[in-house]
Each structure stands twice: as structure tokens, then as C-alpha cells.
């Protein structure tokens, strides 16, 4: 008996928490985890819409989002390791070679 809008509001709250974390966190790993939180929020709305309209394609899209998120996590964490090797820090404020 749960309305669709409740699921969408929960999904929006999780996405907003991810955006806030992306903005205020300075550790590059925590920023990356905030991105994962945003992806999870979007996945929840995918599944809620799939249940609402009886469209199984929504669940297949969630599957694809998970695959892309796993690939992104592997490449992103490798980039974080490479950044740490060259800059010796995980603080994004100190990774500023491209700044003017």
C-alpha cells in the first residue's frame, strides 16, 4: 500500500545526500562514495517505476547501471591509486595542477 511518490521522495533524499557529499567532502574516496550513493538513489526510482508500470525493462536498466557502476568503481579507484602515487595526498584541494 505504499504510494509511488514515497519511493520517489526516498530516492530523491538519497540523491540529495549524494550531491551534498560530493560538494562538501574533501577526501577523494568519500567523494567517489557519494557518487555511488547518487547511483543507488536513481536505481531505487528505476525499480519503483518498473513496479508501477509493470515494465520489466526498468529492472534490466538497473542491471546495466550496476554493471557500469562496477566498471566505474574499478577504473576510478585505479585513478585514485595513481593520483596518490604522484601527489602523495587524497585531499582534492591539493590536487590542483590544472588550476590557473
Amino acid at each position: 500500500m505504499v504510494p509511488l511518490s514515497y519511493y520517489l521522495v526516498l530516492s530523491g533524499i538519497l540523491f540529495a545526500c549524494g550531491v551534498i557529499g560530493f560538494l562538501i567532502k574533501r577526501n577523494i574516496i568519500t567523494i567517489f562514495m557519494s557518487i555511488e550513493l547518487m547511483l543507488n538513489g536513481v536505481n531505487l526510482s528505476f525499480v519503483a517505476f518498473a513496479a508501477h508500470w509493470h515494465a520489466l525493462a526498468g529492472q534490466v536498466f538497473v542491471f546495466f547501471v550496476m554493471v557500469v557502476a562496477a566498471a566505474e568503481a574499478a577504473v576510478g579507484l585505479a585513478i585514485i591509486i595513481a593520483v596518490y602515487r604522484t601527489r602523495e595526498t587524497l585531499n582534492v584541494d591539493q590536487v590542483n595542477l590544472l588550476k590557473l
Binding site: 500500500m1 505504499v2 504510494p3 509511488l4 511518490s5 514515497y6 519511493y7 520517489l8 521522495v9 526516498l10 530523491g12 533524499i13 538519497l14 540523491f15 540529495a16 545526500c17 551534498i20 557529499g21 560538494l23 562538501i24 574533501r26 574516496i29 568519500t30 567517489f32 562514495m33 555511488e36 550513493l37 543507488n40 536505481n43 531505487l44 525499480v47 519503483a48 518498473a50 513496479a51 508501477h52 509493470h54 520489466l56 525493462a57 529492472q59 538497473v62 542491471f63 546495466f64 550496476m66 554493471v67 557500469v68 557502476a69 562496477a70 566498471a71 568503481a73 574499478a74 577504473v75 579507484l77 585505479a78 585514485i80 591509486i81 596518490y84 602515487r85 604522484t86 585531499n91 584541494d93
Partner: protein
């Protein structure tokens, strides 16, 4: 008025939101990672409530299992400590939190006021069949209608594996690697 469905939804939702807020509140990345695992487990419960058993299982195995193990492994490998804030990050704190809160409240208000979905409850639709979230049905869909995207994602995974190995391995001849080894 309160059905079991709604109570379970509120319980899992409370766990998910508490984990997400705790992810923001913690300063050590390992605590944030554990909060994120709690969020993902609660979301798996929400998927079960929505009748998506396959997605719930994949959520626990892939997200809460594989991806988060990778995160925790990298946090421990790099010996990540408590983060320090600078002037720019405090400005982001002052502008980012109110802005995002106002935006999300607006979106929530719009959903609850204008969506008109109050009468249509998730999970109690009359036309619903019993084998809706069945892995066999999803497999049929995945390997017939979505065969080309499936193959493309497998190529994406292959490229991601090779990219991760190339990025994370230390090139033995480059000057950057030599200087890094000198610092070590």
C-alpha cells in the same frame, strides 16, 4: 491504516536515510564506507518490497559485496586518514547544504502534490502476476530484447579491467614512477 508494507518501507527507508546522513557526518572514510554498506543493504530490502528479487540479490552481491570491498581495500591500501577542511570546502559547505536541501524539498513537494499517484499503490496493482520479478523472466528479456546492450556492457567491463590494471600498475621506466620510488 498502517499496513505491514508501509511499516517495512518506512523502516528500510529510515535505515537508508540514516546511513546516507552518517556518510556525510563521518570524517574518516572507513566509517563512510560502512554507512554506505548499510544504505545498500536497506535498499536491497526496498527492492524486495517492490517485488524485484533479482535486483535485490544483485544489489547485495555486486554493490554491498564486490564494489564496497574494493572501496575498503583501497582505503586500507592508501592508509586514508581523517580529512582536513580548507577555506574553499567551508564555502561549499555553506552554499551546498542549503541549496541542495531547498532543491530536494521542492522536488519532494512537487512529487507529493502533483503526481496524483496517491491512489495507485505500488505492489497492489490488480493486473500483477506472481512471477513478475522472476530471474527467468529478466533473463529472457536480457538475452533477447537487450542482447546488444548486454554484449556492449561486457566489452565495457573488459576495457575497464584492462584500464584498471594499466592505471594501477607502476610503469617501471617512466620518470614519475622513478621519483615516486625515490620518495618511498
Amino acid at each position: 491504516m498502517l499496513s505491514v508494507h508501509l511499516i517495512l518501507f518506512l523502516a528500510f527507508g529510515a535505515v537508508a536515510v540514516a546511513g546516507a546522513v552518517n556518510l556525510l557526518a563521518q570524517t574518516h572514510p572507513i566509517n563512510s564506507a560502512l554507512s554506505l554498506i548499510a544504505v545498500m543493504a536497506a535498499l536491497a530490502g526496498e527492492y524486495l518490497l517492490l517485488g524485484a528479487e533479482f535486483v535485490a540479490a544483485v544489489q547485495v552481491i555486486v554493490y554491498a559485496g564486490a564494489v564496497m570491498v574494493l572501496f575498503v581495500f583501497v582505503i586500507m591500501l592508501l592508509n586514508a586518514g581523517v580529512e582536513e577542511h580548507t577555506k574553499g570546502s567551508r564555502v561549499a559547505l555553506l552554499i551546498g547544504i542549503p541549496g541542495t536541501l531547498i532543491g530536494s524539498i521542492l522536488v519532494a513537494w512537487a512529487f507529493l502534490q502533483h503526481s496524483g499517484t496517491e491512489a495507485v499503490a505500488v505492489g497492489v496493482m490488480p493486473g500483477r502476476t506472481s512471477g513478475w520479478g522472476d530471474p527467468a523472466v529478466i533473463g529472457q528479456l536480457l538475452f533477447h530484447e537487450f542482447l546488444l546492450p548486454f554484449e556492449v556492457t561486457s566489452i565495457l567491463i573488459l576495457i575497464a579491467i584492462m584500464g584498471a590494471v594499466v592505471l594501477a600498475s607502476r610503469p617501471p621506466t617512466s620518470p614519475v614512477a622513478r621519483s615516486a620510488r625515490g620518495v618511498d
